[in-house]
């Protein structure tokens, strides 16, 4: 349960809000690199943290992210022409470079310096891995570039997809921290999904539906350990890291690629979900990559030309009651990503947390909300830099491991939950 004012604080991320300012301390995904595939390609609209922006790649390959609307009379630059080193408004020909600087106002006199005084709000746009990242905050507090492992392994070892989720970012993120739903909602997928099936850990998941939980502070956020019974009194641990504010990783299964998510606010009622799979030491196989592109694992099948899932709220996510009866899909919805999204969207655009009935098993969510609130308030009141900004906090991995009954997962997995380049993930 949360008080309404705290729910408001955590879910509102527009300019000037405490959570909005918190998000503006971090680099966040703005686009997949595939959205701006070549120099002078069409510009792309995006809304991030309730700001409407447009991204483009100029004739020299420089990326820009600027206010979507022309400074002249507010027309969208999406209709513009991306050519000869800038983005030109289709209405009256005003032209902007990647820094947002207006470089030409055709109606002005030949030697006019008027355009030098016209500049659109602009943010940096940097490619790291398959993602174009931006920082919407104060340039004087711009942090070091992201260090998450999935964007730093060679391209053949990683794959990232993106989908639009029609609900507030926080209820989507909370699904990424909540390890207890896997044995229920995703139970069908453990046996059938090509990116999950076959791992020894799956039988532990299905053999113990009442896991124990340990929630532990980490420098950048949390480690949530879910403990299930294994053989001879030992325990199967699944360890989920959360790095503030919006990065989660799913514990791995066997030698399958490791996956995780970024949950990025579009506005207060929508978010982008960036979903990745990578393997720390080997290339993804053709079969794995194809499965990801086909919407298996944590990915979705999107309507061609968009990032909206084929299964969406307008078609009840293609609910299949027969598959539900057969337990092929526990909820009747195909695919892990859409199983999560369907339920999270069903809560409403911003779930009313004053009405919820949390249980101790929700301790990870309880602690995450507390850490977000603390960080947002400390930033607002004291200017304190929040956890997760430091690149060191981003060098985390998820893990799955079998330990003896007396072993601490934090002690035993200190290396397993830390990025050690060239070493495989710790997985069962």
């Amino acid at each position: 349960m949360l008080k309404q004012e705290i729910n408001e604080l955590l879910t509102r991320t527009g300019p000037g809000t405490p959570m909005g300012e918190l998000f503006r301390q971090y680099w966040i995904p703005a686009f997949l690199a595939e959205e701006l595939p070549e120099n002078d390609c069409p510009p792309v609209r995006v809304k991030l943290l309730s700001e409407r922006l447009i991204g483009f790649r100029d004739s020299d390959g420089r990326y820009g992210l600027v206010d979507e609307f022309c400074a002249h009379r507010g027309a969208s630059l999406w209709f513009g022409r991306n050519e000869e080193g800038g983005l030109r408004c289709a209405y009256h020909g005003w032209k902007y470079d990647v820094t947002g600087q207006c470089v030409e106002v055709p109606s002005e006199a030949e030697n006019s310096r008027f355009c030098a005084n016209v500049r659109l709000t602009a943010y940096p746009l940097v490619r790291i891995g398959d993602i174009l990242w931006t920082h919407l905050g104060d340039p004087d507090r711009r942090p070091a570039l992201p260090e998450f492992e999935f964007v730093h392994v060679p391209p053949e070892q990683t794959y990232t997809s993106k989908r639009w989720q029609e609900c507030n970012w926080l209820q989507a993120l909370e699904g990424g921290i909540d390890s207890s739903h896997v044995s229920w909602l995703h139970s069908g997928a453990l046996n059938s999904d090509p990116l999950f099936r076959g791992a020894r850990g799956n039988k532990y998941n299905m053999g113990d539906l009442k896991p124990f939980f340990e929630v532990v502070d980490s420098p950048g956020g949390l480690l949530v350990g879910a403990r299930r019974n294994a053989e001879n009194g030992s325990y199967y641990w699944r360890i989920t890291p959360w790095v503030m504010p919006n990065f989660t990783m799913v514990p791995p299964r066997g030698d399958h690629p490791v996956h995780g998510h970024f949950w990025v606010p579009i506005d207060d009622e929508n978010c982008w979900v960036y979903s990745f799979d990578y393997h720390p030491v080997r290339a993804l196989t053709g079969t794995e990559r194809q499965a990801m592109m086909d919407g298996y694992g944590v990915h979705s099948q999107n309507i061609p030309g968009t990032y909206r899932p084929v299964q969406n709220k307008d078609n009840d996510y293609l609910m299949d009651r027969d598959a539900q009866r057969r337990s092929e899909h526990y909820s009747g919805i195909r695919g892990i990503a859409m199983q999560d999204a369907s339920l999270q969207e069903s809560m409403g655009p911003i779930v009313d947390r004053t009405k919820e009935r949390l249980v101790p098993a929700d301790s990870g969510i309880i602690k995450a909300r507390q850490k977000l609130r603390r960080a947002a308030v400390a930033l607002r009141d004291e200017g304190a830099m929040p956890p997760g900004v430091d690149p060191e906090h981003q060098r985390v991995r998820s893990a799955a491991i079998v330990l003896g009954p007396d072993e601490s997962f934090v002690e035993a997995c200190r290396d397993a939950v830390t990025v050690l380049p060239g070493t495989p993930q710790v997985s069962v």
Partner: protein, 176 residues
Amino acid sequence: MPMRPILLNSCAMATTAAEARFRIDVPIAPSRATRVMALDPAAAAVVRSVAEQHWAGARFFTCHSPAAAAGGEAAGEVAGVVLRRINGSLARLSDELDGADVAVMVATADASASAAATIGDACTQRGIMTAAVILGDGYGTGGAGGAVSALRPHARVLMVTSDEHDVAEVLTALRA
């Protein structure tokens, strides 16, 4: 699969902000029956402080070993643990667990394993959910590692934190 028509008001589109106002809006039952038990003196100080806040129905206790408690035959003694209410009066564990649905143990590095075992076993017998908040910095010497080992068998959920405010945070979230 046979295709059936989907009515607008029977589909997921009814989760829009405009439709959210049609949700049933009735008061929620005020609380769970929560018992909060400090397992050691440092935890007791935290629990006493938390108990001063307004709670729906939570009851707060400190635990003592029988030898340390005044009066060896104290009424609160049950198989190795003596419970005291915040006002200092003795309480019987079995009585206090009657009707409870969650027991939250609060501990530091000095937590008593026998108290945790006694409470944990009593809760298991009664089908009462157990959780623990362990206050400490890290797992090393003097950290929370020992308490985690002591409590792990007896609490279904463990939160390890250096922030004592988490005790109140958890209780608030649980509507204690």
